[in-house]
Amino acid sequence: MVQMGEGSKVSLQQIQVVYQTKKRRVIALQDINLEIRDGEFVVFIGPSGCGKSTLLRVIAGLLKPTSGRMLIDGRPVNSPGADRAVVFQEDAVFPWLTVEQNVEYGLKIRGVNKRERAEIVDRCLKLVGLTKPGIQKMFPKELSGGMRKRVDIARAVANNPDILLMDEPFGMLDEMTKEKLQIETLKIWEETKKTICFVTHDLEEALFLADRIVVMGTDPGHIHTEVSPMFKPPRHIDIKTTVEFQEQRRNLQYILNYLSTKGGDVND
């Protein structure tokens, strides 16, 4: 085994996050140790309140851990940066900008010239399946929820980050759109070779997307176990209906049921 932090894309070492409210001290995350390889697709699952979204925000740099440290490419990081793009569960597409202006937002900040920006916007919209003519000049309010999510993903990918962080990105979408976007996400991952950290509570989504599933438990939020799905890339949507897939899904469900009912006992 390689030494901690070396050769890893993301290395989390003894991360602890504590919220201090007026009445009590809430430990959101405790003893988080995790190595994520370059190009890996890691999915975080766990009962609500296990801190999986919090952990993603720590990796994004949006939340400073109370203690512990995070290394990106071996260097300590504790603020947000363009190397880690986030696709949030909420609608984070800027409503006052057109689709095109949204996608090129990060590029413009970096001073990429106009022609190059137009090229990248074109390519990224195609990558997320937004090919409707004239869509570039549309405002988000004219798009459906699924299309806005695609714009959001295109905006993140256009910035060419090393790591793509996705926090229950499809949680608010209907089943059909969700499945389509899962396929798109895998396609983007295979084409761009990005490292992806993905939070979900949808077990099928986790099994379909992940190279590695990190299962988290509550009280306090901690890493309970890791599961490696047996499905190697390229993964096809049809694997969802196989017996093996459903068997793994059941096993995961058992673990989660245990964690959400007896979660508190694990650390006792």
């Binding site: 994004a60 947000p80 986030v86 949030f88 006052w96 937002y105 900040i109 970096r110």
Partner: protein, 276 residues
Amino acid sequence: MTDEISSDKETKISSWFNAFKMNRPLKLVPIFALLIIWYVVTNLGLVRPLFLPSPQSVIQSYVDLWPSLPAATGISLSMILLGFTIGSTIGVALSILMAYSKGFLLVFETIFDLLRPVPVFALIPMFVLWFGIGMAPQVGLIALGCSVIMGVTTTEAVRNIPNIYIQASYTLGANRRVVFRTIVLPTIFPHLIGAIRLAAASSFGLDVAAEFMGSQTGLGYLMIVQQQYLNTSGIFAIVILYSVIAFVVDKLIAMIESRFTAWTDRSSKNNVLINH
């Protein structure tokens, strides 16, 4: 002016007028009804002219007042514009500084909270005392009123910026300055436009009040003179002039508003309450 331009202008005006006629005939009904009632009531002698002058006498007043109207209007309007600009700038700037700097927040939050409930009109005697009679107290009063309106709204608007946009911006590589320019300004702008309409409307009222108290010029002063001569129709004439100007200004701001807030879904929400 060449024929081409004037004809172009004419078609624009007539098409605007047509649109007005076509889309809003119903809106004009209450206005005409009021005018007719006014005419009938005053001409039948049901009300004494001292309390409600007839429409004809109001029109006559415009003729009588004509020599002094342009100058008075000009002075009042420039006072309003000056006070409004100074006050709004100070209000917006202070609120944004308060949002960005803990020091500013510490100093000004308490002062603002103490000042907000003070009725601006109650300060008129103090303003006259401090700044004397003339333009300074008027401009000061309008500026104070506008700064409070704009300040409160800006503070609220900045507080209501969805966190998610700021976080998204940071993760796309923005720094504080970029966040301010690309997230803070565009999201608070629609709120500010609403406040600007309110502040503009208030500055007309503040201007009249200020001119009542201590002034030698302007429309409000002219009104006081009419009052001294018991010339009710003259007062009516000036009130109507004030209202028309305020109405036009409000519509102009509304036009700018719809241009800059096309991205919000506000326009589509307008009729929700009526339709359901």
